[in-house]
Amino acid sequence: MSNMVNLTINGIAVSVEENKTILEAAKHLHIKIPTLCYHKDLCVAGNCRVCVVEQVGNHKLVASCATPVAEGMEINTNTLKVRNCRKHIIELLLTEHREECTKCYRNGHCELQALSAEYQITNQDFIDLVPDKNYTVDRLSPAIEKDDSKCIRCQRCVRTCAEIQSVGAIAVAHKGSEMKISTFFDRSLDEVVCTNCGQCIVHCPTGALTEKSYVEKVWDALADPDIHVIVQTAPAVRVGLGEELGLGLGTRVTGKMVSALKRLGFDSVLDTNFTADLTIMEEGTELLTRLKRALVDDDPEVALPMATSCSPGWVKYIEHKYPEYLPNLSTCKSPQQMFGALAKTYYAKNVNVAPENIISVSIMPCTAKKFEANRPEMKDSGYKDVDFVLTTRELAVMIRQAGIEFEKLNDESFDSIMGVGSGAGAIFGATGGVMEAALRTAYEIVTGREVPFENLEIIPVRGLEGVKEVTIKIEGTVEAWNFLEGVELKCAITNGLENAHQLLEVIKKGDKFYHFIEIMACPGGCLGGGGQPFPVDNEIRMQRMNALYEEDRNLPIRKSHENPEIVQIYKEFLDEPLSHKSHKLLHTSYVKREQY
């Protein structure tokens, strides 16, 4: 129990733990203090100064986000002095900011805009500084756009990139009036260590960092009668989309989403959960094969732990920062890219449409997927496997533009083929989900029995902790897998690249050994992805996570290998996991990249 501190805010007494800030204490009293540079996910910066409050006895105002409470403190959050100063600060920010709200990508979702509205900034007395600034706009990356003229220098992106992601693609550069957020020598995000995870976007209060939008391209495709447009939807989208369209946090909207996509005019609405299940088959087999090579063949070349490769942010991170671990990455493509490769082969054949007439769209909680779809090697179907990637937010834009009253929609079901997913596929959207799905299948293949957790729920791999571990002793193996008898399968799961960095360092030092690690670039996994709705914090991530596990519980099939469409595709098309055809379409290789 930490010590409690008594203070008053606006004359109301409150008692909070001693390490709390004035801002947090005010929250207890349901007093809202405006903030811009503050974010629950990040360390305190105290640099925007809009959260200033009056502390009786102090002739200066104090930043409530950065000032710890003290016994007997008297705080006023709404005096004339405070309001005037806040107004000034908002006005100042606006003079450095290219004010083109009606033309801005973040129009309606901008914290600076909302604050200006709240403080009724209707005048602009100060001088517009924008014309004299040599602001750069970087639109070269296929995933993220950076527009310095919208930046308010709150440094939330910089802290995100460093603290949560340990990437450091962007930093604060120069000083004084020249101070800006910059990459290495101000290069394009496309050229630097940026993993395209988009966490900077979900943490940016304004339109300075946004996803590269492909909405118009998709509308074009939908408008072309000669084009067969198919869409796949990632697991995490169904627990985020509702949030963006005015439904409560963590509302599951799978059926409504399918219904909306059909109304938008997609010729076929399919499910990435299907290829999530396929990933389990391929990756699970790859893991077992690696284990066999290590344990039976004593092959010194085999790279363990094997690491998941579903998260393109993580893949690019390792390509930049830990190239020596590239052999550890599973060669499996991500579910999105497996889907893309199959869409223009297996699916095309099945529905009898020429692949060149198919446009394959994917709806992802992720911005790195935009980059991934653009990787030059992602053309194994003979065409660009995935043509356009939209984020959850972009899909919401399309739904709104189409005049669809989302909350009124009836539930509809995915089309087929490639439209059936298991509960195991659904939980891919949460950190630990791939591990859980893999264990459900691998354990059963090896032992012929269900994974020994009640109701298939492998609780230790779930949740938001930085590094989770699970060890499963394999006993009672079936004949083909006898070499695994008694083996303790050691697994670790992490989310957020800073945690991944920590885990890799532990592994590198040899302090820990694992057979299999699941790494997701974003905090909470895909449900906390860079393409998901604003705002985000751990409470919101937990709500989305609970919704995904609920989705799993409510599905009739909860193990990838029991998905009938999976059984079908191996029978009709792929033969077996790691087959020649699988290798050609579903597996990939990686490259070493620069370190700046």
Binding site: A162, V167, G168, A169, I170, A171, V172, A173, H174, K175, S182, T183, F184, F185, V192, V193, Q595, Y596
Partner: protein
């Protein structure tokens, strides 16, 4: 290994890899090369395990840690109040005329760069300037040309 790789490696082994040694290491490169090239910053970033953007951002904060190519002799004329009052502009003009370049530019032979800087701490002997680390005070247009002439003759 090329020259600046070796230079950075020597500096890092002299000062250490911890972050608090970053400034002395950057200064060490400046002493040798007069500016921080992309290659030098990358090498430092790798050796010290600090993201390259962060090293760049840190360097760009300090006006003496130039991130643009500079001449062998960097002239920094103080532009703050007392020097401004005591004829800084004439000094700058004299230098510009003598070297035939403007403030911010470097001579073609890469020997001189003219810059202006904030208070050098010689207000009682204004106007003042630095050439690399050397201070020159109580300047006049004639005096500054004499000084530069000497530098021109140096190698």
């Amino acid at each position: 290994m090329d020259f600046h790789e070796k230079l950075v490696q020597n500096l890092v082994s002299k000062h250490g890899k911890d972050r608090e040694n970053l400034l002395p290491i950057l200064q060490g490169v400046i002493d040798q090369e007069r500016f921080l090239s992309e290659e030098a910053i990358l090498k430092i970033s790798k050796e010290m395990s600090i993201p390259a953007a962060d090293v760049y951002g840190t360097a760009s904060f300090y006006s003496f840690l130039d991130i643009e190519p500079r001449g062998k002799y960097v002239i920094r004329v103080c532009k703050t109040i007392t020097c401004a009052m005591k004829g800084k502009n004439q000094i700058v003009l004299a230098i510009e005329n003598f070297l035939k370049i403007k403030v911010g530019e470097t001579t073609i032979d890469k020997k001189f760069t003219i810059l202006q800087t904030n208070c050098l701490g010689w207000c009682h002997k204004a106007p003042a300037m630095l050439i690399n680390d050397e201070v020159y005070t109580e300047l006049s247009p004639e005096k500054v040309v004499d000084i530069l002439r000497e530098y021109k003759e140096k190698n």
